[in-house]
Amino acid sequence: MSIVSLGIVRGLMSGALGAGLATGLTMLARSALGAPAWDAGQVTTIAVFVGVFFYLGGLGAFNYWLRWIAGRPDPEHASPPRPHWARYFSFDTNHKTIGVQYMVTSLLVIIIAGILQLIDRLETAQPGMQFLSTNTYNTLMSVHGISMLAAVLIGIAGMMNYVLPLMVGAKDMAFPRLNALSYWIVPPAVILLLVSLPTGGFDTGWTGYPPLSVKAPLGMQFMILAFYIVGWSSILGGVNFLTTIFKMRAPGMSLFRMPIFVWAVVATSVLQIIFTQFVGIAFLMVLLQRLLGLTYFDPNTGKVLLFQHLFWFYSHPAVYIFVLPGLGVISEVLPVFSRKPLFGYKAVAISSLGIAGGGALVWGHHMFAAGVESWLVVPFMFTTSLVAVPTGVKIFSWLATMWMGKIWLQTPMLFAISAIAVFLIGGITGVPQGIVPVDLYLTDTYWIVGHFHATLFGGFVFPAMAAIYFWFPKVTGRLMGERLGKLHWGLMTAGFLTTYMPMFWLGLNGMRRRVADYDPAMGLGPGNVVVTVGGFLIALSMLLFFINLTVSLRRGAPAPANPWGAHTLEWQVSSPPPEENFAAPPKVVGPPYGYGAPTAVHAVLSPEDDAGRKQG
């Protein structure tokens, strides 16, 4: 086969063509209207939108819909291309392909974003400016932030895509083509994030507050467009997941027989489809003010704080979008490796919704120091403290699940335990920030940086690693290396503690976040050196992880259908699962976590599926 027949190659070629055409036509139109032909902002924005459409067209993303419009048959799945790997580079509608695509993209973005911050950490290890300019420092830091958040959104989409349809006993997602579209708009966003580096970067941090973001260089605009595109991917994904969960569960799977991960996806998806619009519009407003001169955030005719309200109205719930699937993974892994039912199943299920609901009402706590109306402050302090309750429910449930269990310390379990500890650190250090007087002291210091990295490591990174080690045998049909896995776990946990524990101390002692330089007289140098060393430890652990991943992929021992003895549906089919998951719908007959009772069964496969699994 030729390389040009790959969807992604055709898509990129067509996208470049579209962007070029749009650039030319816009410039012609501008000069026809008597304006100077070149306006970097307007021309490139149009080029980006047109380019993305052309890219999707070249990729084949619209073929199904065009066939539908023409009234021709439009089957949801094409036969997978040959060779097998080619499907990962094409518009493939199978949810398992898409899950892997998302996860690999996420890991790639994590590598890039991680390297950017390591460069910055080398700079901040010592006071004074060593080898970066302040602008480069700011850009690297900002791109690191926004790329990592994109990576998390992509990563949770990967986990949810692969596992969710299997868990609920469905053949695929509710809308397989929409699902593929949601994935394929992500690569242009990643490219745009990278484009923002050579086009002047931006110095606003990931939050992009105006008025600075209105005045920032062209790079800002690419970041906004990238974020907007990822946002749409996230919204469409949420619609798809909710529909799948509520309409495509196997017979017998009542709501309270769904695995907790499915509950977590419900909460995440609700947040995604509602709140992403807020940040999308907020960023579009910045874009419109930059391009057309509208006055949303102009201090004279607009409201500067408007952006912060809209931004945090999404971006606080977004934190729960990031962590809820991860917390769901912990709830999946713990019962399997403790050989005990999940403690307080219903409370844990509902707590995901509680976190989602509570998290929607706390956005103002990001603005205590921003000059927000004073009557808003105390209610937000109260609601913020309240979110600790459903989160506490989860933590206690996990501890009680492990209590007196037969704990089997395989790599996924180790990562899950680390995740609980780290998430607890993140949660506890968050409560003081919710208290106004304390927050006024802590705001914009390294304390905040330590806090939210702890929540994201505990809520996404460690659980995602647990998820990869847990489901890798299912995805690839091979076991992952245990020894290297345990080494990865140890090094990553140590690296985390080395990096982020000193940050709390640094923050309390006055180390500001987002600064390239600091006063040597403050005595913060040694602490910063430790942070930098820790950052490289994490990078080293990730290197071990990637080695483990590639080696296991090629030489890992063949995995049985159910290597961990788990009860949920994805483990009842062969590894890797058949193309259409289940030949006939399985029957769900019991709760998902009946571990410890020898006769407990969650689901029964149809006879043909059962036969298929025994062969596979």
């Binding site: 419009i69 809308f175 309409k247 009542s254 057309l292 509208l294 006055t295 409201k303 408007l306 719908p585």
Partner: protein
């Protein structure tokens, strides 16, 4: 333990409908944001130059278009292709008329409350602009279901495409029902 009643694992129309409603819910929040923005930026202030009669006229046009869209959908459900085409064509005509009204509004708006220098202009052009974008996409959707390729599907009793596009058109209409008083009436 008794197994709960079997249900259809794949009920396509129900799946499609839920998906559409969730999308509309999400898209609806776009207008929630913009309407909130209007009050946050401007309170209930409104310049005297806002053309209320024109606003009322295009509101009526848009509401009427929804009525014809509904008639078209019902005709499609009963397999009456001729009546379906006639009603949807009227819907498209009324939608285009609405857009023409918005263009006149915009021309006046640029004169009286330019978006680059007044807060009201900014919210007015954002709200009507985003809504007009939805009207344009809705019109495209309506044109698509009139294409010849769709007729065969209608005759075979599958009118999901019509139902979806018409629901979206109603949504665009309902959004305007909130936008009209917000921009034209409150003060």
């Amino acid at each position: 333990m008794a197994i709960p009643q079997d249900r259809h694992v794949e009920d396509r129309p129900a799946i499609n409908r839920l998906g559409l409603w969730l999308f509309i819910l999400s898209d609806g929040f776009l207008f929630v944001v913009l309407l909130t923005t209007r009050f946050y930026m401007q309170g209930v202030q409104r310049p005297a130059e806002v053309n209320q009669p024109l606003g009322l006229a295009i509101s009526i046009v848009l509401l009427l278009s929804s009525l014809f869209a509904y008639r078209g959908e019902t005709a499609a459900a009963y397999g009456d292709v001729k009546r379906f085409r006639r009603n949807i064509l009227v819907t498209i005509g009324l939608g285009a008329l609405f857009l023409a009204g918005v263009v006149i509004e915009w021309a006046e708006g640029f004169h009286f409350f330019p978006p680059q220098s007044t807060a009201y202009g900014t919210v007015f052009f954002t709200l009507t602009g985003f809504h007009a974008f939805h009207v344009v996409t809705g019109l495209l959707a309506l044109v698509i279901i009139l294409l010849p390729g769709q007729q065969k599907r209608l005759q075979s009793g599958n009118h999901w495409g019509v139902e979806a596009m018409v629901k979206y058109w109603h949504f665009v209409d309902v959004a305007w029902v909130f936008i009209f008083p917000t921009l034209y009436l409150v003060s």
